[in-house]
């Protein structure tokens, strides 16, 4: 039985459709990355799946349980960490843990055991008596994660868990997620960071309420929309990227080119070899430092998909 299944999940606010017939399946133990631009419906989907926002249409099953029919049972199986730190600032680490433990119906000695376990696992020991509001961002996240895990949920929803915390804390949090994932917990994570998306085992991309991509990172890179058949990607390092970009775009067999830092990513006809490309560029007075074949990054994937949808929308409006 999959961890999460949605069937035509839809949510409307008045006339505005925030989530439009979304279908996906998350298997047990996956780290499911849910991506999309701001305001595209990510948080709305999460709120429906955790049972705090009613569905307008469609169905959602969490652990095989219909969310609309039995939100109570769903709540015992899931943990949730929202975008904003949402624990009690004026309560200490220990008191926050204790409150959430009690709220999930844990009783002694089970409660004490779980609290100790969370404090040890997340190295919260030195901070047990500190008020949550006085912790730094990374430690707040750990506390929030601990509170969400106290009742042994099988599925954990994390809404932009690493927004606003430093890179070291970010890395540590992901290491922890993988460790937990290894123990069989399913993760549903939204993020804006592409490096985090690369680490997910399953990705879905939502664009203004519609799901427009769903698959493993590799299957998304291989999408025909991203690398159209008959073309290949190259990365061209050069000293003067701006003038090089203009010149590269003038080459007939270069289908598209964009700047990435100090290099250019170019989509080129696959009948052309790397040597032929290099010669052509040099002939056009581009100082090529290095040239190599490239797999599309996830950023390429999502940018391409977004452009494509925007163009479709423009055509539809015209």
């Amino acid at each position: 039985m999959p961890a999460i299944v949605t069937e035509n999940l839809t949510r409307r606010f008045g006339k505005f459709t925030a989530v439009d017939r979304v279908n996906f399946t998350v298997e047990r133990g996956e780290v499911f990355g849910f991506l999309g631009p701001n305001g595209s419906g990510k948080t709305t989907v999460i709120k429906m799946l955790i049972g705090i926002l009613p569905l307008t249409e469609g169905k959602a099953f969490v652990d095989g349980i219909d969310v609309s029919a039995d939100p109570e049972s769903v709540r015992h199986r899931i943990g949730y960490m929202s975008q904003k730190f949402s624990l009690y600032d004026d309560l200490t680490v220990d008191e926050n843990l204790r409150f959430y433990g009690k709220a999930y119906g844990l009783r002694n000695p089970e409660l004490e055991k779980k609290i100790r376990e969370m404090i040890e696992r997340n190295a919260l020991g030195p901070y047990v008596d500190r008020q949550a509001g006085r912790l730094s961002g990374g430690w707040k996240q750990r506390l929030a994660l601990s509170c969400a895990l106290l009742h042994d949920p099988t599925i954990l929803y994390l809404d932009e868990p690493t927004a606003g915390i430093d890179p070291v804390a970010r890395r540590k949090l992901w290491d922890l997620l993988f460790e937990l994932s290894g123990q069989g917990i399913t993760f549903f994570v939204t993020t804006h960071y592409m490096d985090e998306a690369e680490r997910c085992s399953h990705l879905a991309y939502i664009y203004y309420g519609r799901l427009i991509a769903d698959g493993t990172p590799d299957s998304l890179r291989a999408l025909p929309d991203i690398t159209p058949s008959g073309s290949r990607r190259f990365e061209i390092s050069t000293a003067n990227v701006t003038s090089a970009l203009r010149k590269a775009r003038a080459v007939p067999f270069v289908k598209s080119a964009t700047i990435f830092g100090r290099s250019i990513h170019a989509l080129v006809k696959d009948s052309i070899t790397q040597v032929e490309l290099e010669n052509e560029l040099r002939a056009r007075d581009i100082e090529v430092e290095e040239i190599r074949a490239l797999m599309p990054s996830l950023e390429d994937v999502f940018v391409e998909l977004t452009y494509k949808k925007q163009k479709e929308a423009e055509v539809a409006n015209a």
Binding site: I52, P54, S86, Y88, E95, Y100, K102, A103
Partner: protein, 380 residues
């Protein structure tokens, strides 16, 4: 059934911690009512005494040529002075002056004795006296009218009855329950419901809004805590606190202001719990309605004025127009007013007061259910 209250223990544990962390604010909430009590208990005296009075004694001027006359008009003025209600601070020479004193507010009462007063008395004709009363303060005006009328009556009786004759009817009023008619004895038992209202409604009105504002509510909603468990859990620590405040107010009233409590104190506290409950539940309802703490504060303040003016605390309910008498029945303070005045002043017991307490308790349950229902709709 019990599962409806799931989360009760967890939430009351948490709320009690919030209360401890925020002890300054809590202390403030508890102390302010005591200050108000001191002001009302010490400063306000509804017994009217020594009302500034100006006199224009035409009759006396006719006789003696001075503003302070002699004879009958002088005797009458002395009766007024000796009543303790009037304090004659000035004699004037003209209607214009008398009028000026009244308009300026220096005189609340103006007495004019016409030039023919003494002459009419001697002749056995009716001698008129005009008493002008400043109606801008109804308590003072009422007292001045009553006392001056009875002085007139008394003076007439004295002249009509021959000496040694008894009064045909002798009315002897006796003030029960508050024999000295001390103002604190009347005011403070009535003030108690108002003070408790101030404390209780605001305490709970903030509780859910605060979680909404801080973004903690969402996390709470994901837990299996049920709406009624949440409401009761939030209510409980504040209930204990307001019960404590009730005791403090009673102690203050009894020992600082010497208001005797004629009835049973445990009964009073027991019946008060129903009132505390309905107020805390009202705060909870406000909390589900308001979107910010300032909005909650405004809504909570809105409950205060009707409770002061329509509960019978200041103006007797029996004197109100029909529609306001109806309205007063929907105000919890009305019933608590009956309870506190009943127990403290009249030594009333359970047989007289149980219906009031039951009404309060029932409306508390109703309000809490409405609040829980609103809250449920807010989420799923």
């Amino acid at each position: 059934m019990l599962s409806l209250f799931r989360g009760f223990v967890a939430v009351s544990y948490k709320e009690a911690l919030h209360m401890r962390r925020d002890s300054m604010a809590i202390l403030f909430a508890l102390v302010v009512p005591l200050f108000e009590m001191i002001i009302l208990g010490a400063a306000i005296d509804t017994n009217v005494r020594q009302v500034p009075t100006a006199v224009y004694d035409q009759s006396g001027i006719m006789e003696t040529g001075t503003t302070e006359g002699t004879g009958d008009s002088r005797a009458l003025i002395d009766r007024f002075r000796n009543s303790d209600t009037f304090a004659v601070y000035r004699y004037v020479h003209s209607d214009r002056e008398l009028n000026e004193e009244m308009v300026a507010g220096r005189a609340r009462v103006g007495i004019k004795i016409p030039y023919d007063f003494d002459r009419n008395l001697v002749r056995g004709d009716s001698a008129e006296v005009m008493v002008m009363v400043d109606g801008s303060d109804s308590t003072v005006a009422g007292q001045a009218v009553n006392v001056s009328t009875s002085i007139g009556l008394d003076e007439s009786m004295r002249r009509v009855l021959s000496s040694g004759q008894q009064m045909p009817v002798d009315v002897r009023p006796k003030m029960m329950f508050n024999p000295d008619s001390r103002s604190p004895n009347f005011f403070l038992p009535g003030l108690m419901p108002v003070l408790l209202l101030m404390v209780t409604v605001t305490l709970t009105a903030f509780s859910i809004v605060r979680e909404k504002e801080r973004g903690t509510l969402e996390q709470l909603l994901v837990t299996p805590v049920r709406p009624l468990g949440l409401m009761m859990g939030k209510l409980m620590p504040y209930f204990a606190l307001s019960l404590f405040e009730t005791a403090v107010i009673l102690v203050f009233m009894r020992y600082a202001f010497q208001v005797p409590i004629h009835g049973s104190v445990p009964l009073l506290i027991l019946l008060s719990t129903c009132y505390l409950f309905v107020n805390l539940a009202t705060g909870m309802l406000i909390s589900t309605k308001a979107n910010s703490q300032s909005e909650a504060m405004q809504l909570a303040t809105m409950t205060l004025l009707p409770s002061i003016f329509l509960s019978g605390y200041i103006f007797p309910v029996d004197n109100m127009p029909q529609i306001f008498q109806m309205l007063s029945k929907f105000i919890p303070a009305t019933y608590m007013m009956e309870i506190s005045r009943g127990v403290i002043l009249r030594s009333a017991g359970l047989p007289e007061l149980w219906l009031n307490a039951l009404k309060l308790f029932a409306s508390g349950v109703a309000v809490l259910l409405i609040a829980a229902n609103r809250f449920r709709k807010m989420i799923v």
